[in-house]
Amino acid sequence: MAGIQMKNIVKQYGDGFPAVNDVSIDVEEGEFLILVGPSGCGKSTLLRMIVGLEDITGGDMVIGGKKVNDLAPRERNLSMVFQNYALYPHLTVYENIAFPLRLAGKPESEIDEKVREASKTLELDEHLERKPGNLSGGQRQRVAMGRAIVRDAEAFLFDEPLSNLDAKLRGQMRTEISRLQKRLGITTVYVTHDQTEAMTLGDRVAVLKRGVLQQHATPRELYENPANLFVAGFIGSPPMNFLPANVKGNQVELPFGTVTIPEDKAAKAQGKGLLIAGIRPDHFEDADVVDKDKVTDEATFKAKVDVVEWLGNEAYAYIPFEAPTEVREQLAQLEKDLDGESLRTQLVVSLDGASRVSEGDEATIWVDARKIHLFDPATGENLTMDADNAGIIPGGNAMAKAEEIGEEQDAV
């Protein structure tokens, strides 16, 4: 087992495409790191550079204190689960799992013992003599995991291992992977573009955009203190609401009314003109179900609810609003970066299941003003971030840099 240090890693493909740009991430021994970001942001590329399937254009890859840039995959002693499993179809499940051990020239008795142990852990015992072609998706996935855990690797690497499974199985396997990693305590790097996996599995999460590291922090830090608009929009489901905002003193003018924010936050956002306010859906509530002492004029507004989706324990209310052109463009761009497609500017509000608000109502909505974030629309930076609780944020403006790189990428 070993830690993995990526130092200023750069990857430029043969055609000049800058897929990974100056990424530095430190994965501690035994840590579960998630690499997350929208499609094409270079997650797989980075993972493949760790394992040695892709040449490193620049920077140092250090595993267990040893620089491995020029080592072949087999000399790095890492195990990897591929997105499509890449099982050997001509071998039985048993032989698939035994494959790395056979290559290592282990004695037959040891191979048998380790394969049986792995198959027991993954509940594959009754399938050992079958061929991968006859297994279900979840079983194949477990065989791929078996092949990875059977050997004492320095670290596990996963490339979207669950993306081919249906939702229910994905949930099961997610807990399975988490349990396994905790038990084996082995350093793990896990690529996904599913933010639920990112939030639930990882000790820490590294968010990438266009091959540029945006923020590297715990799930909680990412959720509560996103470094910029991109991270804020990417983490959390349903996503954070972005509203045009004008700050006057400690008053924030939103499309629905004015709310009061804490002094220290307001101080950081003075004199910046039009800003973008970010508020998570669950930081709103139906004023009727909130404790009476919290409901003040400064913290509530009235709005006409367009659509309500009631889910039992909670309800989502949708409230459309008009945004000024300058903000709208930034928001549309953000939508695109996040692989989204909604063109309507609307507020998504998560209400308590007890709320009686229904479609077409003029509802009184309470907002937790302490949780509001204010972003600079020009650079996307979070002005009100609590830097001490935001994990590692690369220097310079990561989001703006990603945009620059994006233009380079589009040019290739």
């Binding site: 394992v51 040695g52 995959p73 195990s79 050997y88 001509h90 290559l103 991968p132 998706g137 194949r140």
Partner: protein, 279 residues
């Protein structure tokens, strides 16, 4: 499929089988008739009474030193040519399917051009060259031309198979600790087995059935393969060729090919890669 369709298919199949197998059946029939019966005219499919020779023709053919030698030559030459051709083709096809190198298209085109080259046009030059090199009338003298004519087809077949195998298979093997060579041998080749055996059958057919090279590049039983040997099989009377013996020889010489096809066919299981990746 409707009953009508099925009946049509069966009738069609029978017609085609008749068309293809009648000559073969006739040869088999001839091989069981005695030489006298044939000389006197024996038009029936089954030997006329007293005209049957039983297994005598086969015994005679196999007792013939020349014939045994020719069978040995054919088997040896064809197997060696097939083996070498398949090994070289596998390596070449792998390189073509997996690597980007300068002149890749050139190699492929060249292979195709060679495959289309008329065999006969090469016989003259080869005859001269082989005599100069001293490999006229030897096994290598036949193995080399057989390989050069079967390699292109084998390379094309195999590179198509290799292209179908997902890259990940190999990368997974490398991550699991295999060298490039181990990944190739333990993962890629087994997956391409149907292609390897297809190529092997094609090569073996070509080598076994060749007559032109066999007759022009050999002069003695030293290397003369069966098709050529049969044409030299005159028996005691040059004006009265032993048709029944020839027929028995022809039947014997088809047996190895049937055996080889049956052996290899089992290995040609299509869709072997299914289940490698989530499709």
């Amino acid at each position: 499929m409707s009953t009508k369709n099925r009946i049509g298919v069966v009738i069609g199949a029978i017609l085609i089988l008749l068309w293809c197998l009648l000559p073969v059946a006739w040869i088999v029939s001839l091989s069981f008739k005695s030489q006298e019966a044939i000389t006197n005219g024996s038009p029936g499919f089954l030997p006329s009474s007293g005209g049957g020779a039983g297994w005598q023709n086969y015994a005679d053919v196999l007792a013939d030193e020349q014939f045994r030698r020719a069978i040995f030559n054919s088997i040896g030459i064809s197997l060696i040519a097939t083996g070498l051709s398949v090994i070289i083709a596998t390596l070449a096809a792998y390189a073509i399917a997996r690597l980007e190198f300068a002149g890749k298209r050139f190699v492929l085109t060249l292979a195709l051009v060679i495959a289309m080259f008329p065999v006969v046009s090469l016989v003259g030059p080869l005859f001269d060259m082989w005599r100069t090199f001293g490999i006229y009338d030897t096994w290598p003298g036949l193995i080399i031309p057989y390989m050069s004519f079967t390699l292109p087809l084998a390379i094309w077949t195999l590179s198509a198979f290799f292209r179908e195998i997902p890259w990940e298979m190999e990368q997974a093997a490398q991550v699991d600790g295999a060298t490039s060579w181990q990944a190739f041998r333990k993962v890629i080749v087994p997956l391409a087995a149907p292609g390897v055996f297809t190529a092997a059958i094609l090569t073996f057919f070509f080598a076994w059935n060749d007559f032109v090279f066999g007759i022009s590049l050999t002069s003695t039983e030293n290397a003369r393969p069966i098709p050529a040997a049969l044409s030299f099989f005159v028996g005691s009377d040059p004006f009265n060729r032993p048709a029944s013996l020839l027929a028995a020889g022809a039947v014997v010489s088809t047996i190895p090919i049937i055996v080889i096809v049956l052996l290899f066919q089992r290995k040609i299981v299509a869709g072997l890669t299914s289940g490698a990746v989530k499709g």
